[in-house]
Symmetry: C2
Subunit: 385 residues, 2 copies
Amino acid sequence: MSLTFTVHHTSDRARRGAIRLPHGAVETPIFMPVGTAGTVKAVPQNVLEELRTQILLGNTYHLYLRPGHQRIRRLGGLHRFMSWPHPVLTDSGGFQVFSLSKLRKVTEDGVQFRSHLDGSAHMFTPEHSMEVQIALGADIVMVFDECTEYPATRERARESLDLTLRWAHRSRDYFLAHAEEVPWFAEFNGQTQNVFGIVQGGMYPDLRRECAERLVELDLPGYAIGGLSVGEPREHTREIIESTLPLLPADKPRYVMGVGYPEEIVEYAAMGVDMMDCVIPTRAARHGLLFTQEGRMNIKNLRYAEDQNPPDPACGCMVCRRYTRAYLRHLALAQEPLGGALNSVHNLAFYLDTMQSVRDAISLGTLPGLLARVRAHAGVHAHGA
Amino acid sequence: MSLTFTVHHTSDRARRGAIRLPHGAVETPIFMPVGTAGTVKAVPQNVLEELRTQILLGNTYHLYLRPGHQRIRRLGGLHRFMSWPHPVLTDSGGFQVFSLSKLRKVTEDGVQFRSHLDGSAHMFTPEHSMEVQIALGADIVMVFDECTEYPATRERARESLDLTLRWAHRSRDYFLAHAEEVPWFAEFNGQTQNVFGIVQGGMYPDLRRECAERLVELDLPGYAIGGLSVGEPREHTREIIESTLPLLPADKPRYVMGVGYPEEIVEYAAMGVDMMDCVIPTRAARHGLLFTQEGRMNIKNLRYAEDQNPPDPACGCMVCRRYTRAYLRHLALAQEPLGGALNSVHNLAFYLDTMQSVRDAISLGTLPGLLARVRAHAGVHAHGA
């Protein structure tokens, strides 16, 4: 494993730093756009570069089903397949099996499931998830975990946690034995991928603590908090992140999976989270929801029908420089593919710019002010809509 | 009307020239991408500019129904609405009423129809079509015509032709009385739009001749051949174009509406056509059909599953510079929006580059060779697929 993580500035619990990965450096705290099936929905790779996207997340479950990890391996790995020469992280597939697949059956060995695409039968084990992720060749890969459902009893959360820990060992062992099989091993002078552990434990802080402590013994290059954004109240999400973060090694990247709204990612970064990913900016965009400095905007609203302002007057992205709210509203109502694409570009720009502001505020010691401003717009609809 | 048309080179029947329009100059022969509802489906305006698109076609029927021509007028016209400061042409709505609307009823006055969107009742008359087109503010507008169906008896074609001629007069009269109402009239120092006539007459060359002769008396700044691509054999299309073109004034742009495949647009340009438009490049793209120097390519074909070549190795477009056939195939099969978008960009690049080659070949006197090469790939599938 060949990651290096350097903290350059701290501000209270927040830290600004950089992760050096085989395919490049990533500034932290970072937001990772989700490129589920080898594409950030509707956004071309050159536009992601123009937005200064530093790292993408790919979904192992989707890529395994289509086009298949062996095919991607033969094509040189995910970076080459999708023409994205910058860092990539893949999840383990555990969350998607949990949320998308059918007829799921969990055993000690792994998870049997049926594809949401064609009903075909498959099995993911920790070893198989790692095999798939090595074939995909992301810079960071995740141990195979069981995402505990919400709500879960304490007993159920403990069982799930114990299974996740055993799977973490198996994932790591398989990875260490096969790390040199990554498609770009020779090309990158013997560098390998980096495996992150995932803390589970449901909504029980003491179980989270136990999971974190036992995972840290594995001495992995980074740690994630999983099992959030599964339907729990946002207050629980924050409490679990807040209580779990101090248990993770301060000299390693700390990643919270699957979050969140703009005010949440700022808040979590202020708590010391280094990495986050979420489908919200692109999924919301496809439904006509835009994030702006003034709050959220449902671009389909009649009030924008003849509004010639840019979506977000405070934004300098390529969409806000060229198009009006009236035009984006028209595209959304007409269900024109350009609408979802432009909305996605703006929302990603908003998220990436937000994280740049967070990094700058950490360096400048102005994070409390930024956090207050962002909180003021939390859940607010622009123009009192 | 403020168009100027200059022929710079001729080569046999073909001619290379330029049309000066209020929003800029257009080199001819030109292919016009179709931006039906104020957007070339899935392709952002800056990409159209990178492809050196010179003029777009907008559909009056669609824009009238949504977002409405009065709204577009209040927003400054179609150019400003869609942030496209370059030339635009709108059709009259006649063809779309013919092909898309429901419960169509044609009278001397005009066409009653029901919207394909919500079934609401509407009526287009020549006067109304011109009113809508003046509100949209395209550089070139078209007289309101009745698109004769195929097949049509001689009697039916004559009736339709006579109606179209009476409507052409009414269209011109309304336009001349209201030309100064175009949204950009003052801003463009009193320039106005340009009305083109449309030759109908079904598949009867003598009716086409009569229609052309009577339309030419109107002394409009340009003439189109309409009523093609309505299901007739391609041989008929060519014959009608070939026999009608010489009847149109040589010092005015000659436009064939709604054509065609790459080999057709080259052939028609060689016959002396100056302007063409067609949905084929973008519609085919959304179905995974790519045009290449080697012929047509169904990118979904299994043979491309692990093909790391660019879609068209002879193409220098932004898609062919970055992505592989394997990746585009994956996007098409996964129905990812990026697939249709990238395929559209390539196909438009192919069409626009083809017309640039035609213009260059006219200047260089090498058009026969280009035509032979293009014909050799007509209907051919790349790689013998």
